[in-house]
């Protein structure tokens, strides 16, 4: 869907992006990650021409983006930023309707789309559509921001540290929302963050950048299990790699189905990391496991967390 070929960009004398090649395929959830100044935001903003690249080619759906008018590209991509940037003088409804109005959709279609998106983002349409941004909390504002980005049914969603300014609880809730939206809509998402946990949680593919160069591109499992360099290991958190690996898998993948456990059961959708926490808290070595309907399916052993029974 989006392809960067040997792209470079310099600001004055500093090279922000150095010979970067990257492909974003349809339906992927790509997370660009790295420390401050590594060029991840710049990369994102080159995709919708908010920043113009100096050399190399950037293709959108196979065509060079320089061949489009900037606003035409941007109307086909959603854009969400950390400070949200809701238009303070417009209601929530009008904010969300921004791109549909630019695309000149008929009024009834816009109204229905606003209702649909408010419901998707878990905001009561009747309650929220007439409110102004200053009446909303930070989390609500960002939900509206995401709804606004999705309103025009864009092919790609670009997000620049969207949850960075929110408190941890709200951040977690919105991350879950986003993951759900990705699965439900199948949209291609490119998200920038500096939070490795967020990346590992959300991404189908993680792209680690350093000083404008690509360090490693791979699934969360690949990043954790097969880091390309010391830098990657350091970035992920050398001492946390194992714990983070546990976070990538669910109880369902390690449960022994022919056994039964004791005590209060845990859901099979829990990550192994959360299960480890339960083991330690309860000071046991076996846990009963139930499925989504509450039916017992088996037992999880602490030792299976360490070494998978293969």
């Amino acid at each position: 869907m989006i392809e960067l070929q040997h792209v470079s960009k310099a600001f004055g004398r500093t090279k922000a992006i150095d010979d970067l090649s990257l492909t974003v395929r349809q339906g992927e959830f790509i997370v660009l990650i790295g420390s401050s100044g590594c060029g991840k935001s710049t990369t994102l903003r080159m995709m919708n021409r908010l920043v113009e690249h100096d050399s190399g080619r950037i293709l959108f759906e196979g065509q060079e983006i320089r061949g489009f008018k900037p606003q035409d590209i941007r109307r086909r991509m959603g854009y969400v930023i950390q400070s949200v940037g809701l238009f303070p003088h417009w209601t929530v409804e009008r904010n969300i309707a921004t791109v549909p109005e630019l695309l000149q959709w008929p009024r009834p279609r816009i109204r229905d789309r606003v209702t649909e998106l408010l419901q998707l983002l878990d905001l009561d349409p009747a309650l929220f559509r007439g409110r102004y941004p200053h009446q909303l909390s930070g989390g609500q504002q960002q939900r509206v921001g995401v709804a606004r980005a999705l309103a025009g049914d864009p092919e790609v969603l670009l997000m620049d540290e969207p949850f960075g300014a929110l408190d941890p609880l709200t951040r977690l809730a919105l991350q879950k929302e986003l993951a759900r939206i990705h699965i439900v809509s199948g949209k291609t998402i490119v998200l920038v963050t500096h939070d490795i946990d967020e990346a590992l949680h959300l991404a189908t593919r993680v792209v680690l950048l350093d000083h404008g160069r690509l360090v490693q591109s791979g699934t969360p499992l690949q990043i954790l299990a097969h880091p390309a360099s010391e830098f990657v290991t350091d970035f992920v958190g050398r001492s946390e790699v194992g714990i983070k690996l546990l976070g990538l898998q669910t109880v369902a993948s390690r449960v022994r189905r022919n056994e039964s456990g004791e005590g209060a059961p845990v859901a099979d959708s829990l990550t192994l990391r959360e299960a480890l926490s339960v083991f330690v808290t309860r000071q046991v070595e076996r846990l009963a496991v139930v499925d989504g309907d509450g039916q017992a399916i088996g037992c999880l052993h602490l030792s299976d967390l360490v070494k998978s029974r293969e």
Partner: protein, 256 residues
């Protein structure tokens, strides 16, 4: 119960509204000044002519309002355009120069611009119009720049990022959000213009200052009072009206 309370509530609101009082006083005095002749005659017995009759007060009022409206109209169009130009990337080079000119220009007394225009252009309405338009530009440009600067950067960035072109960003985001500040500049400009237009009667323009100037040279205090009260009320009404307009434009801010 509610039927009797509601009309009183509306009436009470109107009674307490200063703009309505001032406007009523203005209209009544403009059209009814002649009927106050006995009052002026009694207050100033030494005067032969207690009420200004060289021109009707409604005509003077209209001329004054006309002069201010046209010059302020020019000042607004040119001023806002200049303010917009100077805050766009293509005009950013000119910005500090424009800001310097506007700042220094406002240390000049507005009368000076009028006084310099006359020997160059002649007497009458034209130099007044030019002087008022030129001086009226300054606060408008200043406030347009300030207002556009104050637009939240996040809103502008997202507006561009979602696909608005430059004109759409200007019309849908920048100008609506900058409008209250721009209006404050227009308000300042118009009030100053009302004052300078009053003095413009010294250069032959027909305004509410004419009775004042004629009264000063002829030692006719009644004339002076008539002109002063009318132009004072005009200024107050205009100021209150602008205040009302500013609040209306900004009303989204006050939604609880």
């Amino acid at each position: 119960m509610t039927d009797t309370v509601r009309p009183l509530g509306l009436f009470g609101m109107l009674v307490r509204d200063p703009l309505l009082w001032a406007l009523t006083a203005l209209v009544l005095l403009t059209f009814g000044m002649d009927s106050l002749r006995p009052l002026f005659a009694a207050a100033f017995p030494a005067l032969e002519r207690p009420v200004f009759t060289q021109d009707t007060f409604p005509a003077l009022m209209l001329a004054h309002i006309g002069l201010v409206t046209i010059s302020s109209g020019i000042a607004i169009v040119v001023g806002v355009a200049a303010g917009i130009f100077v805050t766009r990337p293509s005009g950013a080079e000119f910005r500090s120069m424009v800001e310097s000119v506007v700042a220094i220009g406002q240390t000049f007394p507005p009368v000076a611009v009028l006084a310099v225009a006359v020997p160059l252009i002649g007497f009458g309405e034209t130099p007044a119009l030019i002087a008022l338009a030129l001086y009226g530009l300054l606060p408008v440009v200043q406030q347009t720049i300030a207002g556009l600067e104050a637009v939240p950067h996040a809103a502008r960035e997202v507006a561009k990022g979602l696909g608005m072109n430059a004109i759409q960003v200007l019309n849908r985001v920048d100008l609506p959000l900058a409008l209250p500040v721009i209006l404050a500049g227009v308000r300042t400009s118009v009030i100053i213009n009302i004052g300078t237009a009053t003095i413009a009667s010294t250069v032959g323009a027909k305004t509410l200052g004419t009775p004042i100037i004629v009264g000063l040279s002829g030692f006719n205090t009644a004339y002076i009072l008539q002109g002063a009260v009318l132009v004072g009320l005009l200024a107050i009404v205009t100021d209150l009206a602008f205040g009302r307009l500013e609040r209306h434009v900004d009303r989204w801010r006050f939604v609880a």
